[in-house]
């Protein structure tokens, strides 16, 4: 049953007991993975859930998936509390862990999907419909009879997504669905997730280290760090501030000269033969910056990119501290 709020999380805390020095002896120490996080995801929204490793992301994902019980707090997915009734809860969600397989290594994709049909008790008619639809959308028809072991990473990830959706879940959790994929597979996965939301109104919670995933998919971005929510805002708002920043790396044939950068650009790092510049394209368009740098005769190569998630998070910390 669909509800207006697909995911509700209130004041969620999780602490782990960790033993120092061996598994039997040693003092226990408490580690706080989640320090009271709250957010809601309305039905049909794609929410990006980002943060560096160790921020509490995977703990939150595990709790939402019903495989971990929190220390305190309230969680509702649909109308259910995930850890109170695991079986009813997991029957209604779909989860893709980018680095783990839901399918069976020794079985073909088709056989694996058929077993999942039995596990989720999907009626034969509906199964056939879903399988054909997913095979079409994820381009699986050529690999249905191959064993999962033989698939490339990109093929496997597409099969994984089909496996997680064979039972029509209302809420889908995608944990690093594009990790390690080549460019065409990433595009295919993104296009599929977009269509899934548009055609079926599926709610998606997405974690990723790839800002392109967020840019292509997320309506909303929730940033988590040190077990707390650092930012929770519509994608456009985040884009207007932090995400618009670009990084330019300039290599020189000798020691880099004094650059006299125009407004909107700052030198953030200086090496023996290279300089890293952070700039805001709205104040200083990339071509103008490149033109400025081209006036230096010993300029070698130029590379433009965007800051890594880790850097964005660091920025959030700085903003929150002030």
């Amino acid at each position: 049953m669909k509800t207006a709020t697909a995911i509700e999380v209130r004041d969620l805390r999780k602490t782990y007991q960790v033993r120092d020095g061996g598994s039997w002896r040693g003092k226990t120490r408490e580690i706080t993975a989640l320090d009271g996080i709250s957010f809601t995801v309305p039905s049909g929204e794609i929410a990006g859930f980002i943060g560096p490793n160790g921020a509490g992301k995977s703990t939150a994902i595990k709790i939402l998936s019903g495989i971990l019980r929190p220390t305190s707090g309230i969680v509702r997915v649909g109308n259910l509390v995930p850890w109170e009734n695991r079986i009813a809860h997991v029957a209604r969600i779909g989860v893709v862990f980018g680095q783990r397989t839901q399918l069976w290594w020794d079985l073909s994709v088709a056989e694996g999907l058929a077993l999942l049909r039995d596990i989720y008790s999907v009626e034969p008619e509906r199964f056939k419909r879903n399988r054909d639809r997913l095979a079409e959308a994820l381009d699986l028809n050529g690999i249905m009879d191959q064993s999962v072991r033989q698939l490339s990473l990109g093929q496997r990830m597409r099969a994984e997504i089909a496996a997680a959706l064979i039972h029509d879940p209302d809420v889908v959790i995608l944990d690093e669905p594009t990790i390690g994929l080549d460019a065409p597979s990433k595009l295919a996965v993104r296009a599929f997730v977009r269509d899934l939301r548009r055609e079926r109104g599926t709610t998606v919670l997405l974690t990723t280290h790839d800002m392109h995933d967020i840019e292509a998919l997320a309506d909303r971005v929730i940033v988590i760090g040190h077990g707390r929510i650092l930012a929770d805002s519509p994608f456009e708002a985040l884009q207007a501030t932090t995400l618009s920043e670009r990084i330019l790396e300039a290599d020189f044939t000798g020691p880099p000269p004094e650059l006299f950068l125009p407004d909107g650009a700052v030198e953030t790092e200086r090496g023996t033969r290279s300089v890293t510049i952070t700039f805001d394209p709205q104040r200083l368009p990339a071509p103008a910056l490149v033109a400025h740098l081209s006036t230096f005769p010993d300029l070698g190569d130029l590379r433009i990119g965007r800051p890594a998630i880790e850097e964005i998070i660091t920025r959030f910390y700085a903003d929150h501290a002030s």
């Binding site: 595990k62 997991v90 029957a91 783990r100």
Partner: protein, 266 residues
């Protein structure tokens, strides 16, 4: 779909996967048959030399040997998922994956693999068991129903050990070879009449790990062989039930283990 049908489907898929390389499979089967049969020659040569030991002849010992091996092979066939639980599920983190499926973890782990290789042990156990009956003069009519009853009790007891071993993985995945003392050690111990063991060990094997309740006492009843320690013969007609009690206890322990895993996340 009910759990039993689901299990049948999963078992079917696993058999198909095992038969993907039929040559390898056949060799493994033969290997399993020969290695387990060799262990019986050890016992046989002992009796060949001494005739009988403490009032037990080769026929009775062959029945015990066959019973314990047949039972264990059934448990090995069913319980593979529990046997590899530590290495393939806990260490790798893929137990989380099982928890994402709307089914009992016990059913999913039973469905991990219906292992065909122990058929080798099953066949040689059945062969020795048949020889044992043939060599024994006073085989009881009760054997007709007591044999499957004892094998069932024995199989679920060994399955209980495997489940208990898997539940132990929630506490530690190191040093689990210790549990082999109960599985392979149990198979070894079950091959001998328990009168050969010290009193504490006899008690342990009857009431804690009910190995003699599923092997020794039913074997006495089948062979009409009075118990030198004075347990009445009818005890062997009922005692295989203790295998089921043991399994139920191990399942409860498993449940506690899963609940603990879900609250600690490791």
């Amino acid at each position: 779909m009910n759990a039993f049908t689901l299990y049948r489907r999963m078992a079917g898929a696993s058999i198909k996967a095992q038969l993907r390389y039929p040559g390898t499979f056949a060799l493994q089967l033969v290997g399993n048959f020969v290695t387990t049969l060799l262990s019986f020659f050890g016992i046989w040569s002992l009796f060949h030399r001494f005739g009988s030991i403490a009032g037990w002849d080769i026929g009775a010992v062959a029945v015990l040997y066959g019973l314990v091996n047949v039972s264990f092979s059934v448990a090995e066939t069913l319980g593979r998922g529990f046997d590899v639980f530590g290495s393939e599920y806990v260490k790798t983190g893929s137990f989380d994956r099982l928890l994402l499926r709307p089914r009992s973890t016990l059913v999913l782990l039973l469905g991990h693999e219906l292992r065909l290789r122990p058929i080798g042990r099953f066949l040689q156990g059945a062969f020795v068991l048949g020889a044992g009956f043939w060599l024994s003069p006073h085989v009881s009519w009760n054997t007709v129903w007591l044999l499957p009853w004892a094998v069932a009790g024995g199989a679920v007891m060994f399955l209980g050990i495997l489940i208990g071993q898997a539940a132990l993985c929630f506490i530690t995945v190191e040093g689990l070879e210790v549990v082999n003392v109960l599985t392979y050690g149990g198979v070894e111990a079950g091959q001998y009449p328990i009168t050969m063991f010290a009193r504490w060990l006899r008690r342990f094997l009857t009431w804690a790990l009910p190995l003699s309740a599923v092997c020794y006492y039913p074997a006495l009843a089948m062979l009409n062989h009075p118990d030198p320690l004075g347990m009445p013969l009818w005890f062997g007609l009922l005692s295989p039930a203790m295998g089921f009690v043991f399994l139920a206890l191990m399942m409860l322990w498993w449940r506690r283990g899963v609940a603990g895993y879900v609250s600690s996340g490791s």
